[in-house]
């Protein structure tokens, strides 16, 4: 895959989106993501992170604005959203990424299999291809889901809190995979609550119903975080660490 760095893979301008007509769950979003970049998406629960992803995938009605994408967009869910008791192996899950490219009446065949194997190789799980998905560790499952997105041949990846509920060493491996994908020229949007993590990425989009900011991580000041999270956050260590108060919504 050619790197093509600097080429804009995703351009979003004045985007508003939401399920109900007239009521936008998210408004005025403007940012861009070049090839070879990781952009953190910060914001409180219900702040619009999920709506942004759904809108970029074309699954939430877009009310206004423009979205320009170069190539396909793939979605990487949190592992606990996938069924652990489902009788599929890691390779089976990676192959799901090739389904859309093959017409339903044609078996996905050798080409799809090879693409899925290459994707597993890319995330360092070639040796676990035959293991049942539910028997992998949380971090390995997350990497399998990233492999599935790679098998989709997408250049833009949307990752939904890929590090939540994953232990330290596994998180490091996932971040290592993301760094390699950045080298390959993918553009990644990573929704997260971990502000420390966001500082290590290339850019940050802050959402709170509407876009609060699109800045380089160096400009992620305590004041900006306070505006993003409202009263839901406690900032420690002069802004280096922040604890987000999680709200359970029913």
């Amino acid at each position: 895959m050619s790197a093509g760095k600097g080429e804009k893979l995703l351009e979003v301008e004045g985007l508003s989106a939401g399920y109900r007509p007239g009521v936008a769950a998210l408004s005025d979003v403007t940012f861009e993501a070049p090839a070879g970049s990781i952009t953190a998406v910060l914001g409180p629960n219900g702040g619009g992170k999920t709506t942004l992803f759904r809108a970029l995938l074309g699954e939430t009605p877009q009310r206004s604005g423009t979205v320009r994408v170069n190539g396909a967009v793939a979605y990487v869910p949190q592992t606990e959203r996938a069924r652990l008791d489902f009788p599929v192996s890691a390779l089976d899950v990676a192959r799901m990424g090739t389904y859309a490219a093959t017409p339903w009446w044609r078996p996905s065949g050798r080409a799809g299999r090879e693409r899925a194997e290459a994707a597993l190789e890319r995330v360092g799980l070639a040796d676990r291809a035959g293991v049942r998905f539910g028997e992998l560790s949380g971090g390995q499952r997350q990497r399998v889901l990233i492999a599935r997105a790679l098998a989709q041949d997408a250049r833009v990846l949307l990752l939904d809190e890929p590090l939540s509920g994953v232990d330290g060493p596994s998180a490091e491996r996932i971040l290592g995979v993301l760094a390699e994908l950045r080298e390959d020229g993918h553009a990644m949007l990573v929704s997260t609550h971990d502000i420390h993590q966001a500082r290590a990425f290339d850019a940050v989009v802050c959402l709170h119903g509407s876009q609060v900011a699109f800045v380089p991580p160096a400009e992620l000041t305590p004041e900006l975080l306070a505006r993003t999270y409202g009263g839901e956050m406690i900032v420690l260590d002069g802004g280096e660490r922040a604890v987000v108060v999680q709200h359970h919504e029913h």
Partner: protein, 283 residues
């Protein structure tokens, strides 16, 4: 040997065995999806809810197959709507739908004007299958298998991770609709042999057994088909030798496949667990 060959010598049991073969091949694999999608209640309800269609057909002298098809169309649509109900909860909504339709069928069937035996409709009789029935069943089963093959990816995506299904090329909700339509189709094939109370046995029993034993989809689908056929054949023999109601015998055998699989997995359980601990320790 005679014990095995006797039933094969008469046309009635021959046809019953062929019918169960057809049934098993399509009900087994479908059941795997039903179990994975947590739609066992819908499967059970679907069969119950077709009762008004059967009774009306019997009352006006229409072929039972036509009544069953009409009853199932109503039942499938009602359950599809009910299982999307968020306000009262899908299970309560399905309960309301099935209770109403089943009650309606019973009222029609037991009102004094109808000289009809409700029992046959409820419990079925595989020994009443005619050659024409067999041909119809075979055609429907082929259609069902074709739909299962064509819908395999949609079902896989929708069952494993519905949130991402749209992004991976499957329409949202498509899997559930496909599943309910296929359930209606297989219930139509199976109802004559098993009756509307027992159809769910051949759908769920072998599938739950296969899912105990297999940890990949395609082997599970094939194993479920084999178990369903085996349960059907064993049920016919059981009813022949022990002179028991045939539909009930098949249902008992279908549940027994699950019991056997559960025993088998608990016997091999400790060994499997040791192997897994060993293989994950060597990573």
């Amino acid at each position: 040997m005679d014990l095995l060959l006797d039933p094969l010598r008469n046309g009635i049991t021959q046809r019953a065995l062929i019918d169960l073969l057809i049934l098993g091949v399509v009900c087994g694999p479908l059941g795997v999806w039903v179990v994975l999608f947590r739609q066992s209640y819908s499967a059970e309800s679907m069969a119950h809810s077709m009762l008004p269609g059967l009774v009306v057909a019997a009352l006006i002298g229409a072929p039972l197959g036509v009544g069953a098809a009409a009853g199932l169309a109503v039942a499938a649509a009602t359950i599809a709507i009910a299982s999307r109900q968020r306000l009262v909860g899908p299970d309560a909504a399905v309960a309301v739908a099935v209770t109403t339709l089943f009650g309606l069928g019973t009222l029609l069937a037991l009102s004094p004007q109808t000289p009809l035996r409700l029992g046959e409709l409820l419990f079925g009789d595989p020994l009443s299958v005619s050659t024409a029935d067999l041909l119809a069943s075979a055609a429907l089963a082929l259609a069902g298998l074709a739909a299962l093959a064509a819908g395999h990816r949609t079902l896989t995506l929708g069952g494993f991770d519905p949130q991402s299904a749209g992004n991976l090329g499957a329409g949202p909700g498509a899997a559930t609709w496909l599943l309910l339509a296929l359930l209606a189709l297989t219930t139509l094939i199976a109802v004559q042999a098993l009756g509307n109370l027992l159809v769910v046995a051949i759908v769920i029993g072998p599938a739950a057994a296969a899912l105990q034993l297999c940890d990949r989809l395609v082997p599970a689908l094939a194993t479920a088909a084999a178990f369903a056929v085996a349960a059907g054949v064993a049920g016919i023999y059981l009813s022949y030798w022990a002179e028991l109601a045939a539909g009930a015998s098949i249902a008992i055998c279908a549940v027994a496949t699950f019991g056997l699989a559960a025993v088998a997995t608990s016997l091999r359980g400790p060994a499997t667990r040791r192997f897994l601990e060993w293989s994950s320790a060597t990573e």
